[in-house]
Symmetry: C2
Subunit: 359 residues, 2 copies
C-alpha cells in the first residue's frame, strides 16, 4: 500500500515557518511553531505533527490566535505565572519552559502556571529541552472536551496530556508523553485521514455506543485510559493546568476546530526540579542508567522482543526519519500543499530525495 | 453472608496505638501509624487499613523498622530533603507533609523528596491535611516489586501510588489516590483473605498467565493500568520518589512481607503548591465548585445514577463508618486479636455496639 509522500524534515519545517511568516507571524514565532510540529512528526507522533498545520494557519487567518504580542511572565520565587495573551501554544510553551528552567536552576524547583494559551503540540518538545538542562520535568496541559467523565455519556474532559521526563547517562532518557485517553484523539484523526478503522474500546459514538468507525468516534468521544483512574488523571490535569492557573477548564476550554468566536484559553502547568539539589547530576544519571539497564534486562513475555523505556521508540523513529524523511499521508500532504499555495510557498520543495543528502 | 465483625473506629485506633506502644514505639509515633491505618479503613480503602497492622507490628518486633529516631530534614529554599532513618512510613510521611506545608506557605511551592522510608499507608492521609491548608498537593511513593514492565514477564515495578488533591468550596474536595495497577495489590490481598475470586484482567500468575485466583495472582503479578501508559506512570513515580531522592528503586525497594534482612528503603515525593500565589483562595474554591457542579450535572451513561468526583465515594464511606462502625473480615479480626494478645491489649474492647454512641 502506498502510504503517502516523503519529506525532508528541515525543509518541511522551513515550509511551515515560511507560510506562518507570510500569514503574519514574526519569524521567531513562526520558527518555534514549525519546529514543534515537525518535532512530533520526527518522533512518530503524527497526530501532533504537521497534520495540525492547516488548522493552525486557519486560526491565525481568522484572528483566533495572536501573533507578535508580549507575554506577561511574573516571577514570584519558585512560582511563575504566565499569561499567554492568546499567542500560539508553542510560543507560550517555550516561554514557560525558559522560565521553568531559569527558575529551577535558581531556586531548586519551579512551578509555572500558564493561562490564555492555545494547543501547544506535544509536551515532549518542552521536556526534551528541560532534561538537557539536568532537570526532572513534568508538563501537563488541558484541552477541549473530547472524553466523558467516568459514568458520563458525552465529552466533558479533554484528553489532557501528561508528560514526565528525566535525563539518563549512557542510556536513553526517560520521556513519557501521553494523552489520558486510551489513545490520543489525534490517532483517531489520523485513522480518519487514512480511511482506516479503529480498534474497539478506543471510543464511543455520539450516543455513547462503542464504535470502530473513526468518523463516528470523532463525532462521539474517546474514552479515558483505565476507566475511573484515567478519568481522575484527566481531571487533576484540568484542575492544575486550568482551574489553578486561571485558564479555562472543562467546557471553558474551547475547541480549535469548532469554536471561531472565542480564544481557546488552554492552560498548562510545568514543574521542574533541579537534580543537583538532591545529588550530583552524575550520580543521578548513573542511577538512571542502572534502573534502565535493570529494566531492559528483565525477561520478556512470550512474543515480545525487547522491553522499551517510554520515549525510546520515539527516539529511534526520530533518528530514522531524520535520515530517511517523514512520510505523510496523501490527504495531509494535499492539505499542506493547498495551504502553501495560498501564500506562494511550494510544498514540493520540501520533498525528500535520496540526492538531497549529498547536495 | 456474614462478612465479619464491626468495630468502632476510635477504639480500633486506640487498640492499634496501644499495641504499638507496648511493642516499643513512642506514643506520638504509635498514634500516627494507628491513625493512618484506621483512616484508610474509614474511607473504605480496606487494602491499606488495619489489615496491614500485623505486618507493621512484626516489622517492629523483628527490628526491621526504627522507632524513636530523629529524622533528618534539610530545608533548601522550596526543596526539602528528608532522610526517614527507617522509621515507620506514616511517621516519615507526616514529617514530610509538615515540611511541605510550611515550605509551600513560605516559598509558594515545595518539592519534598524522602528516602529511607517504609510503607506509608494511603497517600490520601497526607493529602487531606495539605488541602485543608489551601494547597494543591501531589504525593507519590514507590513500592516493592509487584508489576511487570510493559512487555515483561515478572514483577519489576511496584504498584506505585499517585495522589493528587485540591480543595473545593461547598463541593466535595478533589482527592484522587490510586495505585498504578489495574487495581491495588491490597484489593487482591483482601480477596484472598475473604476467599473470593478476582476478575480476569487484574493480574497474571507466576508464569505470566491470566488468573482469577487471588492466591495465584499474589504469587504472580498485578498488571499496570492501561498497558504501556500505566507502566510509564509507575516508572516515573519510581524515578521521582526513588532514583531522585536517594531511596531504593526497582528491585532495591524491599518487600515488607518477604525481606527480613534489609530495610525497605521506600522513597516518597511530595509537591505542594500554594493556591494563593495564583489567585485568592476563595476564587479558586468557587472555580472548583463550578467545575465539580458542571461535571456532576452531566448526563449519565445508561445504568449510572450519578457521576462521582474522585474521593467522593470515600468521603461518604467515612461518614457512614464513623457512625456505624468499620466491618472487618473475620480473618483480619482474628489476626488483630492475636497480635493484641501478645501485648495484653483486647481487640474486643474496640467492638462496635449500638449502645456505644449513647455512652
Amino acid at each position: 500500500m502506498s502510504r503517502g509522500r516523503r519529506f525532508d524534515w528541515e525543509r518541511l519545517q522551513d515550509f511551515c515557518a515560511q507560510v506562518l511568516q507570510r500569514a503574519g507571524a514574526p519569524p521567531a514565532e513562526a520558527e518555534v511553531v514549525a519546529e514543534s510540529l515537525v518535532y512530533a512528526d520526527l518522533r512518530g507522533v503524527d497526530s501532533h505533527g504537521v497534520a495540525r498545520f492547516p488548522i493552525y494557519v486557519r486560526r491565525l487567518e481568522q484572528g483566533m490566535v495572536a501573533t507578535g504580542v508580549k507575554l506577561d511572565v511574573e516571577f514570584d520565587g519558585p512560582v511563575v505565572r504566565v499569561d499567554g495573551k492568546n499567542a500560539y501554544g508553542a510560543v507560550v510553551g517555550m516561554r514557560a519552559l525558559e522560565a521553568a528552567v531559569a527558575t529551577a536552576k535558581r531556586h531548586g524547583c519551579a512551578v509555572v502556571g500558564v493561562k490564555h494559551s492555545n494547543h501547544f503540540g506535544t509536551c515532549a518538545y518542552y521536556a526534551e529541552r528541560a532534561i538537557a538542562q539536568d532537570l526532572v520535568f513534568l508538563a501537563m496541559s488541558n484541552a477541549s472536551q473530547t472524553m466523558p467523565p467516568y459514568g458520563g455519556a458525552r465529552p466533558f474532559l479533554g484528553t489532557n496530556p501528561l508528560c514526565v521526563a528525566a535525563p539518563a547517562g549512557n542510556e536513553v532518557p526517560f520521556l513519557l508523553d501521553m494523552a489520558t485517553s486510551v489513545v490520543s484523539r489525534g490517532k483517531i484523526i489520523v485513522a480518519a485521514q487514512r480511511g482506516e478503522p479503529i480498534p474497539l474500546g478506543w471510543a464511543v459514538d455520539k450516543d455513547g455506543r462503542p464504535t470502530t468507525d473513526p468518523h463516528a468516534a470523532l463525532a462521539g468521544a474517546v474514552l479515558p485510559l483505565g476507566g475511573a483512574k484515567g478519568y481522575g488523571i484527566a481531571m487533576f490535569i484540568d484542575i492544575l493546568a486550568g482551574v489553578l492557573t486561571g485558564a479555562g477548564f472543562g467546557k471553558y476550554v474551547h475547541n480549535m476546530y469548532e469554536n471561531w468566536q472565542q480564544p481557546q484559553n488552554v492552560g498548562h502547568l510545568f514543574i521542574a526540579i533541579d537534580i543537583a539539589r538532591f545529588m550530583p547530576v552524575e550520580v543521578f544519571k548513573a542511577r538512571m542508567d542502572r534502573y534502565i539497564r535493570d529494566l531492559k534486562s528483565e525477561p520478556t513475555a512470550p512474543g515480545v522482543d525487547e522491553i522499551l523505556v517510554p520515549g525510546e521508540l520515539e527516539a529511534r523513529t526520530a533518528r530514522l526519519r531524520r535520515q530517511q524523511g517523514i512520510e505523510l499521508p496523501d490527504a495531509v500532504a494535499k492539505e499542506l500543499a493547498d495551504v502553501g499555495k495560498r501564500y506562494g510557498v511550494r510544498l514540493d520543495d520540501a520533498e525528500w530525495t535520496s540526492m538531497k543528502r549529498e547536495a
